[in-house]
Amino acid sequence: MYCVKVIFRVLLCLVVFPVFALQTHQKLEITLQDHFGFPIEGALLSIQDTAYVAQEQGDGLYSFILPINSTYTLIIQAQGYVPKTLDHFHAPLDASRLLLVLRAVGDPSGMSPTQDAFLMSETAVAALSDDAPTGFLLQATRDVFVASAAFDFSPAFFKPKGLDSKYSKVFLGGIEMNSLAHGRPQWSDWGGLNSLTRNQEYAHGIQSSATDFGGLLGTTAIDVRPSLQRPGLHFSSSLSNRSYAFREMLSYVSPQKKGFSYSLAASLRGAKRGYMQGTPYKAYSAMGNLEYHGPSGVQQTHLSVFYTYNRRGRSAALSPEVLRLLGNEYNPYWGYYKGQQRASRNKTLAQYMAILNHRYQGEDFSLSMALSYKSAKDHRSRLAYFNAPNPSPIYYKNLPSYYINSTIGANFYSSQTAAQALLNAPQISWDALYKANENSSSLLQLPYMESGDQTQEQQWSGVLRWFWKPSEAHELDGAFSIRGNPSHYFGQILDLLGGEGQRDIDPFSQTRNDLQGPLVKKLGDYFGYHYSLRTLEKRIYVQWRRRGRLWDAFASLTAQNLISSRRGHMQNERYIDSSLDHGTQKSFSSQQLKMGLTYKFNGTHWLSFSALHGTSAPVISQWYVNPRDQDLFSPNLQREGISFIETNYHLRAPRLMGRFNLFYGQFTNQNSLRFFFAETALGSDFVQEWVQGMQTTHKGVEFGFNYKISSAVQLNFSGSVGSYQWSNQPELSLFFDPDPLEPEPIDPSGRLDLGKVQLENNHLPQGPARAFSLGVSYRDPKYWWLTMSFNSLGLSYVGPSYLRHTPQFTQEPVYEPTSLNDLEPLPDLRQKTLPNVILVNLVGGKSWLKKGRYISVFLSVNNLLDTYYRTGGYEQGRKAFLEAFNEDQRSGTPSFDTKYWQGSGRTFFLNLMLSLPPTNLKKSRK
């Protein structure tokens, strides 16, 4: 960059002056190259606030005819490269060529943390048992705030604007990757394929996107076409102590030859033990792309095929008692079997997908069609027990608190003994489980078994997109898409732990799960439940965009229709009439409107307003209260309502650039469905807790600024302060099996409506509502760089137990009433916050470039000071009436205390990357 400026200024002095007085316009030629010296084609060079656009001459050469005697801002944009802006740019007085080098997106020799670095946030993901809430942020962007949110805030489970990741839409090859089941994009679907998925267009917030209507939180479009990737061989090897210990990635992108280009990638990731104990990790993936451009370049076809496999052990949220006894890295879900570590809760995700794209690319009009097929499985194993002791070492009866909270009086001796015994044997004893099964061979029911909760789905998608540019300023685009998603859900016997077979019955109610199948099931058989959902989504959107000198505007409209029905494949004894065969179909139609206006004061400041209003269908996982057992729709299921506005102020001064954002949003008809054992004033049972009609408000600010102290040193300051609260009192209902054997049955109908939940003004447990980051970056001219950031995160709330906020909580219990309820002190039910935390992150590296071969090394250290912090928590819902709650809390060490997830301590990530250009690609001459 510095060299280029020197060349440019020298040229200016030597060449411009003599011809300055003679001409009014001058031709300026600019050659664009990448770091290897290869030409960049298809770039857009323009002069800000004017209509001057460069003509492409081919081979990376662009030319302007510009008036002389003026100062301009030159903007250079090329797909796959970081845009460049040259301020105070003078048209040279002589026809001359300038050489400009662009940096590729994801190039680690730059200032901002790289895509590789962002993927280290997988640790935060692995710490949670389910899909990544922030996975969509895994990309490098130009936005300082988004970069901080992805790299610095995400380990603390930060959620921008307090929004769930389902509000972010991700498209790969034009196909929507958000799952219909829970609405979220699953980052592991393309895990390990970083080198080919670097090409991402990201629109943050309510902005228009060239790809689709998009989501409230943002839209990511990943383009895997080989013609847009940097050709050559890329290799990356990483070492880490995060969720995986090593990662090897290899990819090759071919140059375009006779219209054909292709790319291949493969990767391997693994760890014997992840960051948490007992979370072994194994993942591999592969991808192939083939692209063909017709002779005229108008017809383009692209086929992409990829496979990803990911298997990892899971960990648990822990109560403070367990944390004190066993430490932050403790994980109860593993043990030893014949001397080897064996995890009891494994999650296996595997998918293969094929996408076929065909595009007709005209001058002002394009039409593209994408067809895809996906087959995916999500298998989760767990240890099941039947009329046998709970095998978890931290079952509440094994903890010291059990003896402190004993109803017959606290026993401190036994409490101490229990603590010592737990320290001596803190993990699952698999050998003991096999022994128990061996001793029970004569019984009809094995005490222990490894079972799986499996999901197998297929997805057929088709998208037809069109794009039309009727004039310079206006663009119209739209699409019609259809997604069919038949999916199977079933329990399965994974390992009988030495046994021969298992009776397929519900151990609590002693009822059969499969009346039409055999009573005794063998290894690999369906077990417990088996049903399928057939879902069809049809969507259409249309968008208008206007770009002008002073103002831009856009308006988009989308409509969606979602249909789903359940089909049971097992008839169970508990719901004989509603468990088997086709159930009722349900359908939701929803619409959304999005609009925005941007006013550009000048090239330095501009202001934008945008708004989104509409409805969206509830995610399929909330349609049914208990789909494993019966075809029963969640009551009062309605479309979610969304109203959101935001305003952005953008600044791009020579030294200072950034964005300031104010947002306000309201959601209506949100729902929650949870499963646990509850002891209510009206009885105890294993329940499905359904809360519907929740209304929430999200308001706050987010900002990110970058100040160039010098050409080598930069300062970043970004943050977000928000308030995310419930703003009404939703309705709560409990559903359960009306089991005649249950000693304290709740209601014979199997349903109990508990009225309103006093949640108003409670805060949503959506990560830190206050986050600040101050970073310093240094980039040395000798291609080494260092970035250090200081991050402060706070105002993170614990998820409340809804049952404690219902009227029945203070009611006299129906079973064993004591008439002393009035004397029970009301507990402090105010929502707890997690402690504030300051995290220091450091990343630095160096790169070398020799004869087109590129090597880079970087080391990233997160949480440099090894600070202990909690990332989230939830109140256990078991003690759901006053007497039971107070009794449990009285000792100060409750048996059913709030559980917390822990943040990682000091972690590192060391990466070596090697890039080799293809041997037959010619370098352009200067």
Binding site: R273, K397, F412, A421, A432, N439
Partner: protein, 295 residues
């Protein structure tokens, strides 16, 4: 080369490393590439296939321990007050109770090996549930007594943890994980424990917490038509022998067979002998312990 100070040494080293890397890159050709891939392949192989060291050796499940103590010695140690074992001593015993059908909650009853002259018994008070899964009736075990408390009460010899009530210590239930750690399985096979045949008028406290069998018992006629136990209540049912001597049958209100009807014919009852105040009672493992006995 002589180095003036650390700084120059570091500078020299870093420039050496940099030169090495640049030289390696400069000389990069296909052969070097193959070599690099071979090294990388070895590195990946090493990472993937290297097995972790066992962080913990497999605990012997089956063993024959030394340093044993007999039931008589245990009884002698206790005498008349709570006693705590300070050394590592093992008590070899056979399990005679079973919670398979819901009886014996919170207890594991142990009997002396048959080789002993007078077979004594003791009860291990514990919070362990599902004891029949690991310690079924007839399984020989070794109980590590170190740190455990023992006492001799009306109900016989008992071992466990301790709890304090009004300043007095009594035997309390041993936490489940602690009990599992103290009970080592013997390598001897599971056997059918022969019960001691007893007559009601010959019962003594030496038989407490041992497996006994009593013939010719008939249910109290007033209890005809009743079930073995009332739900959630520890139930005692009177049985009489031919001489009119009484013994109570103890059944838990949580047992699986509580709703079964009591037998009105003459029966032989096998079970573990206990005592409440001055009345003996017998506690069965399951319905199989109540067998018809022809007169």
């Amino acid at each position: 080369m002589k180095y003036v100070n650390d700084l120059s040494l570091r500078k020299h080293l870093s420039s050496q490393i940099e030169s090495f890397i640049l030289a390696a890159i400069y000389h990069f050709n296909l052969r070097t590439l193959k070599c690099w891939f071979l090294c990388w392949g070895c590195w990946v192989f090493f990472l993937v296939s290297c097995t972790s060291h066992n962080e913990k050796s497999l605990q012997d499940i089956c063993s024959n321990k030394l340093d044993t103590i007999s039931f008589q010695s245990l009884r002698d140690s206790v005498q008349n007050e709570l006693y705590r074992f300070k050394t590592e001593l093992y008590l070899p015993a056979y399990v005679i109770s079973s919670d398979q059908f819901g009886q014996f909650y919170g207890r594991l009853v142990l009997e002396e090996p048959i080789t002993a002259k007078t077979i004594l018994g003791a009860v291990l008070e514990t919070d362990m549930t599902g004891t029949s899964l690991w310690y079924p009736s007839g399984q020989k075990v070794y109980v590590n007594l170190k740190g455990l408390y023992a006492d001799h009460k009306t109900t016989g010899l008992s071992i466990g943890s301790v709890f304090a009530s009004f300043g007095n210590l009594s035997i309390g239930r041993l936490p489940a994980l602690s009990a599992q750690a103290r009970l080592s399985l013997s390598c001897d096979p599971i056997i059918q424990i022969p019960p001691k045949a007893r007559l009601l008028d010959k019962l003594s406290d030496l038989d407490l917490q041992t497996l006994v069998s009593i013939d010719s018992l008939q249910l109290d006629s007033n209890l005809a038509g009743q079930s073995f136990a009332v739900y959630e209540e520890d139930s005692f049912r009177a049985f009489y022998d031919t001489k009119g001597e009484k013994i109570m049958l103890r059944v838990s209100g949580y047992s699986d067979f509580r709703d079964a009807l009591l037998p009105t014919d003459w029966v032989r009852i096998t079970g573990i002998l206990g005592k409440k105040r001055s009345q003996y009672h017998i506690e069965i493992r399951g319905l199989q312990d109540v067998a018809p006995y022809g007169m």
